[in-house]
Amino acid sequence: MLLVPCPHCGPRNSADMSYQGEASSRPDPSSATPAQWRDYLYMEHNPAGWLKENWYCSSGCRRFFSVERHTVTSEFREPPLPGSKTAEPGAGTDRQGGGS
C-alpha cells in the first residue's frame, strides 16, 4: 500500500485517498473553443515518469492537494501543494473501468 504524502496529515495510505488524476488547468469557459475544452476534458499526458497529479484526502483531512509522483517507481517528490487545480470532471470518480 503506497504511502501518499498529504500536506496536512503527513504520509497516509493510498486507500485513505481518492485519486483525482492528472493536474491540468481549466480553460476560461467564456473563451475556450470546443477543441480546447475537449483537450481539457479528455486528453492526458500519461507519462512514464514524473507526473503532477491531484489527490483528495478523503478519509483524513478532506483537503485536495497536488503532488508529483513518478509513475514507474512510485516515488513522490516533496513537498505536496495544497489546494491545486484538478483535472478531471466528475472528480475522477467514474474512472472505475470494468474488468474482463
Binding site: 507526473l51 509513475t71 512510485s74 472505475q96
Partner: protein, 448 residues
Amino acid sequence: MTKQVIELSEKSAKLSPVFRRNQAPRYSAAALLWRGVRNDSWPRVWREPQLKKSYDAVVVGGGVHGLATAYYLAANHGITDVAVLDKAYLGSGGSGRNTAIVRSNYLTPEGVAFYDRSLDLYNTMSADLNLNVMFSERGHLTLAHTDSAVRTMRWRAEVNKLQGIDSTVIGPDEISKIAPSLDTSPNTRYPILAALYHPPGGTIRHDAVVWAYARAADAYGVDMHQKTEVQDIVCEGGDGPDGKGPGAKVTGVRTSKGDVSAPVVINCTAGWASLIAAMAGIQLPITTHPLQAAVTEPVKVFLPTVVVSGSLHVYVSQTDRGELVFGASVDPFATYDMRGTLDFTEELAGHVLELMPAVSQMRLQRQWAGLCDITPDYSPVMGFTPVEGFLCDVGWGTYGFKAGPVSGEQMAKCVADGATPDLISPFALSRFNDGVLVGEKGAAAVGH
C-alpha cells in the same frame, strides 16, 4: 501509400508460395502420436529472423492485437512484408496477463457487432489456425445485485437480442441451477437478484491465442522480433518538434536493434500506448492503470461458468486445471508499476466469499498485474491518426483480449484499404475532438 503497398504485395497474394514454403507441420492427434512413437521433437513454432532495414508495415507490440493484425495483413490482404516488434517476448503484456474471458454481450449495437465478430473468429480459431486455443464456451453470468443493475442487464439483453446474440436475464433459481456454488439466498448483503446469461461467452487459453497467431503469421513470412524495443518513431513534415505531430508522415522506427524504415507503423500496445503515440507526436485520451488478477490453488472443478459481479467488482472462472481465476476493476490510480497490491486480494477475497461462501478455505497462490489503457468512454481508439501512416489500435482498457481477433482483422483491412472499416468507425480518435463519445460507458461501469 497504403494502396501502393497492397498493389506491391498483390503479386504475392493468396496463392503465393509463401505460406507453403514456411508452413509449419500441421498439429493433430495423429501427428502427435507419430512423433511420440518416433520420439521426434517438433520443429520451431516460429523463426528467429534478422531485423531487416525496411518493411511494408511495422506493428509495434507482439500481443494478440499486434499478431492478429500482422496475420490478417498477410492472410487476408497478402501484405506479408511485415515486422512485429516486441520489447519483451510474444504475449508478455496484456495478452498473457488477462483472465481470458470472451463474450459479446455489450451495450451498444456497435459494441455488440464488433465483439460478436471477435467471438466468431475465436470460435473457429483452433481449426483456422491449426492450434487448439481451448475455447471453452461455458457461458457467462453477469450478476445483478440492485434494481438498477437488473435494469442495465435487461438493457444489454434487449440490445443483444436485436443483434441476434444469445443473451437473457434470468432469476436466482435458474442461476442456482447453472452455478450451484453461488449463494442465491435473498438475505445476503448483496443479494443476487438476477443475472445476464450469455451462453456463447466463455474462456480461452490466452497464451495459445498468441502462439496460434504468431505461428500462422510466421508461416506467411511475417517477421517476429522479440526483445526489440521501439525507441522512437521517425516522422517528417509535422508541426511538432522533429517533424512529428499532426500533419506529419511516418517514415520508420528506431529500435534497440537498429533502424527500420516503413511507410506504415501500427501501434498495437497496451500499457505503453501513450508513450508510443507520443513518439509520433500524438496525444491520446488515455490513462494507464494496472489491472490485477489472481489464481487459487487447484481444486476439483465445481464452477462450470464464468461469473461476473459488477457491483462487487469481481469476476471468476475455474480453469480446466481446477484453479479459480479472479479479476477485478483497475487500480484506483494511474501507474506503470505492475507489482500488485495486497488491497486487491483483500477486496477480491471478501467479494468472492460474498458470492461463494464455501470457498473460504481455498488458497490464493499467485497474483499479478497487467497494464490497461483507460479511455473516457470505455471504448478503444482505432484507425488513422493525424500522422499519416501512423495507426493506433489502443485504449483497450480491460477488454482488449476479447477484441483481439476482430481488431487485427479490421486494422489489417484499414491499412490495406486505406479507409476506416465501418465496424471500427465509431472508435476513431477524432471522436474526442468532435465530442461524440461511444455509449459503452453505461455498461462498462458494471461490465467486466
